[in-house]
């Protein structure tokens, strides 16, 4: 059970010295309780208090950092099993698997997928270099290094791993290769190179024992490879490990990020895509696949973007004018809020209508139509101001369609936006298609 802010506050010096970076001891304590700040930031905490708090406030699951620069990613650090309880903090990262035989071909197309979706860059973030017993594994790794991808070395051969690290240790790769047989040597290799070590096993008991043994050697920069012989066992291990890590009495040996190699479970890329979805939902920190074309990227990045969101903060789209169905400056305007769900719903129906319209999105705090209206964030003022500042010089049409649920704004908008005619849309987005088509037929727009 995590400590409440007030319990932490009681142990602070209560001097508001600000040395921790927070203006007051209370603010600092609340941030620690939320896991936003580490307790060690307070220089004046007594050592007894510090010891008591570090244990209690240490997250049940470690946050492991891999990669460098733009390709540095945080894995793990989760505190809940379900997203509605609290935000999932570390997105699932997708890796493409390469080996000596296909590395050139795969690396040639790896950046084909690279696009923005709701202000997030979507691209292959990691490359999993599979050791296939080749003599020059390091050569294969070299072809992946320096490409802005975080490297995962899938290699249980100590010597090969060492050689590979020689060419890429600086990029902070993951060495996914500790087994029950080699873990002692692998720990040395990982320690020496300063990289995260992946633990591999045939089953969950072996995984657990090996991890425990590695912890015994004092190394805790780990990720757990949950991949086993079958889909069922892999899923079971991924779930069981995460569940034990976040249980009421956390098992800290399970408290590490996971790797799931779906490419090892099936050769069929459609099945891999389905499994990648499953493990995005259920506890894969890194999911390894054979390819990431647009066919994989579109569903998986979309899914990930949705699942790893703050359950209390709705997703927002950027404000602006979105021309739909080839709309131009003479096309009618339709306006709604910047709540992503509303935007997708409305823009989808607008597209289906086939009628050219300019969809104008103003800042409504990311709330739904009625909520933002009630909060005063979608009002005659905000809409007219946005139109005056951002729309009037770009669009010649002087007709704007507003959501039926805020029909009450009509008079206000017309008063504040001289020259504009306000048209009331139906209450539900689903009715937009017929509404727009009718208006078009009647020559009203």
């Amino acid at each position: 059970m995590a400590l409440k802010g007030l319990d932490i506050f009681k142990l602070t010096p209560k001097t508001n010295c600000k040395e921790c970076g927070s203006p007051t001891c209370m603010a600092f304590s609340m941030k620690v309780a939320q896991g936003a700040v580490d307790i060690s930031k307070c220089p004046h905490m007594s050592s007894d208090a510090m010891a008591a708090l570090s244990e209690a406030t240490a997250p049940p699951m470690k946050t492991i950092k891999v990669g460098t620069g733009d390709a540095e990613y945080s894995l793990g650090g989760e505190t809940v099993l379900y997203r509605h309880e609290k935000t999932f903090v570390s997105k699932t990262r997708y890796a493409v698997r390469v080996n000596a035989a296909d590395v050139d071909a795969k690396m040639a197309v790896i950046d084909n997928v690279d696009y923005d979706r709701i202000s997030e860059r979507m691209h292959v973030e990691m490359v999993y270099v599979d050791y296939t017993g080749e003599a020059d594994y390091a050569e294969t790794v070299k072809k992946v290094a320096g490409k802005g991808k975080t490297i995962i070395l899938g290699c249980t051969d100590v010597a090969a791993a060492k050689a590979a690290l020689d060419v890429c240790a600086a990029e902070k790769p993951i060495l996914n290769g500790a087994t029950a047989a080699n873990y002692a040597e692998m720990v040395e290799v990982a320690k020496a190179a300063g990289v995260v070590l992946g633990v591999c096993a045939a089953n969950i008991d072996e995984l657990y024992d090996t991890t425990k043994a590695i912890e015994g050697l004092g190394y805790k920069e780990l990720v757990l490879d949950c991949t086993e012989g079958t889909i069922k066992d892999t899923f079971a291990t991924a779930v069981k490990v995460r569940r034990a890590a976040l249980a009421k009495n956390p098992d800290r040996t399970c408290g590490y990020p996971s790797i799931v190699n779906v490419a090892a479970l099936t050769a069929d890329t459609t099945e891999q895509c389905g499994l990648a979805s499953l493990f995005t939902m259920k506890y894969g920190s890194i999911v390894v696949m054979d390819q990431m074309t647009y066919a994989e990227a579109l569903p998986l990045f979309g899914l990930r973007q949705n699942v790893f969101t703050d359950p209390q903060k709705p997703m927002k789209v950027e404000t602006g004018i979105y021309p739909i169905n080839g709309a131009d400056e003479n096309s009618v305007c339709v306006t709604t809020v910047d709540f992503a769900l509303t935007y997708f719903l409305v823009s989808g129906e607008l597209e289906r209508s086939g009628v050219p319209v300019n969809l104008v999105i103003s800042d409504a705090g990311g709330l739904s139509v009625l909520t933002s209206w009630a909060a005063g964030k979608f009002s005659g003022n905000t809409i007219s101001k946005f139109f005056q500042e951002n729309v009037e010089d770009k669009v010649k049409s002087r007709k704007v369609i507003i959501p039926g649920k805020v029909a009450v704004l009509k008079g206000d908008i017309e008063a504040k936006l001289p020259g504009w005619e306000v048209i009331i849309a139906p209450n539900e987005a689903a009715q937009l298609v017929k509404f727009l088509k009718d208006m078009q037929e009647n020559g009203e727009i």
């Binding site: 409440k4 802010g5 007030l6 506050f9 009681k10 209560k14 508001n16 927070s22 203006p23 007051t24 001891c25 209370m26 603010a27 609340m30 309780a33 939320q34 509605h84 309880e85 609290k86 359950p311 209390q312 709705p314 009630a374 039926g404 649920k405 029909a407 009450v408 704004l409 009509k410 008079g411 206000d412 908008i413 017309e414 008063a415 009331i424 209450n427």
Partner: protein, 721 residues
Amino acid sequence: MLITMSLERGLKAMLINRIFNGNDAVYGLTVGAIDAAIAEHGADKAVGFPDTAYCLPCYYAVTGVKVKTLGDLKEAVGVVKTLMTRNHELDDALMSGVATALCAEFIEALKYIDGAAPYAEPCYGHLSDAIIRTLGVPLVTGDIPGVAVILGSAPTAQEGVDLIKSYQAQGILVALVGGIIDQCEELGYKTGAGLRVVPLGKDVTSVIHIVSVAIRAALIFGNVTPGDAGALLAYTAQRVPAFVNAFKPIDDVILAAGAGAIKLGFPVISNETENIAEVPGALIQQLDTAAMNATSLEARGIKIKVTNIDIPVAFASAFEGEIIRRGDMQVEFDGSRVDCFELVQSKELSEIEDHKIEVIGPEIDEFEVGSKHSIGYVVEVAGKNMQADFESVIERKFHSYINCIEGVMHTGQRDMIRVRISKDAYAAGFRAKHIGEVLYAKIKNEYDAIVDKCQVKIYTNPEDCTKLRHELAVETFNKRDERLNSLTDEAVDVYYSCILCQAFSPSHVCVVTPERLGLCGAVSWLDAKATNELDPNGPCQVITKERVIDERTGAYEDVNEAVKKFSQGAVEQVTLYSIMEDPMTSCGCFECICGIEPFSNGVIIANREYAGVTPLGMTFPELASMTGGGVQTPGFMGHGKHFIASKKFMKAEGGIERIVWMPKELKETVADRLNKTAFELYGIENFTDMIGDETIAEDPETLLAFLTEKGHPALGMDPMM
């Protein structure tokens, strides 16, 4: 007194005797008919109705026995005899009514022997299972709001047809038995199942065919087990909204059949006056045929949905924001200049004539274009579930209702309203009475769970408006305000849950009490109560408060159970009056957050609009991020602005004396009420002068200095933690 009682007893005895007589007569006829049929066809002869899987449905439903042959029927009539007990009690009489109905079914069944077709156009006789399945669905959904059984001949054919028409217009299914069928033919009035007017037959026994519909509906739609007479009677009484209109003369047989109807829960309304007595709610006299409809609906508790609003201009939410400028205005009612008011009053059912709309005083036609006048409209409502507390809840909706009228603008509430009617609306025929039509239709539609009847009085004489405003409206408003002020947590038996925000905040549950409205500031205890009454399965549920754990903190076992249930187990216990011990959770829509300020031993409050930093070193969004989402954060709590001046505000920690800092704007908003509470609780005058704000301090040290200088009471209180 003694005389009336003995008179009543005499009348009851007479009624019971007549029912017994009628039942005996029908029974005799039935036994005779069955014996004759057996003599003619033999006991093995098949008997039953066509197109039904339920044999003789009424007998099957009551006993669970399927009658298939004349021999079975002979046995069945013996069973019926056992129902015919002869104690002089109402119950015996009603059971004899059931026996009469079953006899009627037997007699009707005999008509169908050998595949005979005993009924000819326009009569239907027996109705098939298929018809019941199609009629049953609209009956369940309420699309057919009721079933009227008209029996006998109306005083005149025209009156009879007019009565049928009135039911048809309400969507009620009408079954006809006896002379009324001839009366329809006489006037050429069309009948048929498609028109929902079904002539059954001319013999009184044919009434069983509509009873059979009700009973098969219970078997099909009510999952009633055949033979479970109790469940059957409960279903017909609760779910089949039927009633009987029986025209005189009512002989003993009809009376006995009527007793059967009453046992099923169907009231009988009749114009008979000879040798009969009223039984409240069951056997009712109505001499005026034109009033039979209203009497019947009220007796059976049938409500007719109002779907269209009868006004000459459009009505839609699209017009809600319409602004009518001075130049476009035909007439204006302006409460800021002359006496105007709007009011909902609850009345007794008998005091109201449903849908009566009166304009008392001149219509708009008599006003000059662009002129200003008084108006007062009183909407009188009545209903079995209506409570005076709901008056204000309904009244608050007037603004939106009237604004949705094309060409009409409404602002304000109570006696500070302004209504403008545009020239266009006037030209289209819109008049003051149409305001009444709109209010009537909307209230009947949206509040049908609590409003059974509604009438509207619109006053346009300045004298009336002045008098009623002061003597009626303002009086009522004052009483309501008093009630609201006297409404304390202790004064009520139940609280309400509110889970409107769970879409965003899955584990949050608001416990709404009279002194602690929802933390969004939008849901008061009265609102929650009305929401619960209107939608018993909706977001507001009753929470009892019978098992106190701790008065001081406001902890109750019942409240904890409710919170656990409605948060799906995420929150196990909350207190109503403490911010330190299990404080109530917040969804994220709170108007304000209060948080503990340890250095001054008090709390600070920040409202959503405040953009700066609080002396805690945190901004409103920072505070919100740790308080929202349905998690309990001791020392911090979201709440509504109104709660700040409540005597229950963090009562467990000492109450409002703990408040040490608020943004200036918030402080000013709540100052009057907060100062009043502080004076009442602690005798402190101008308490808000002791409370810091952002112009005084944004850090704890400066704040503490200020509080020390002012001698703020929190400094001397017990430590909060």
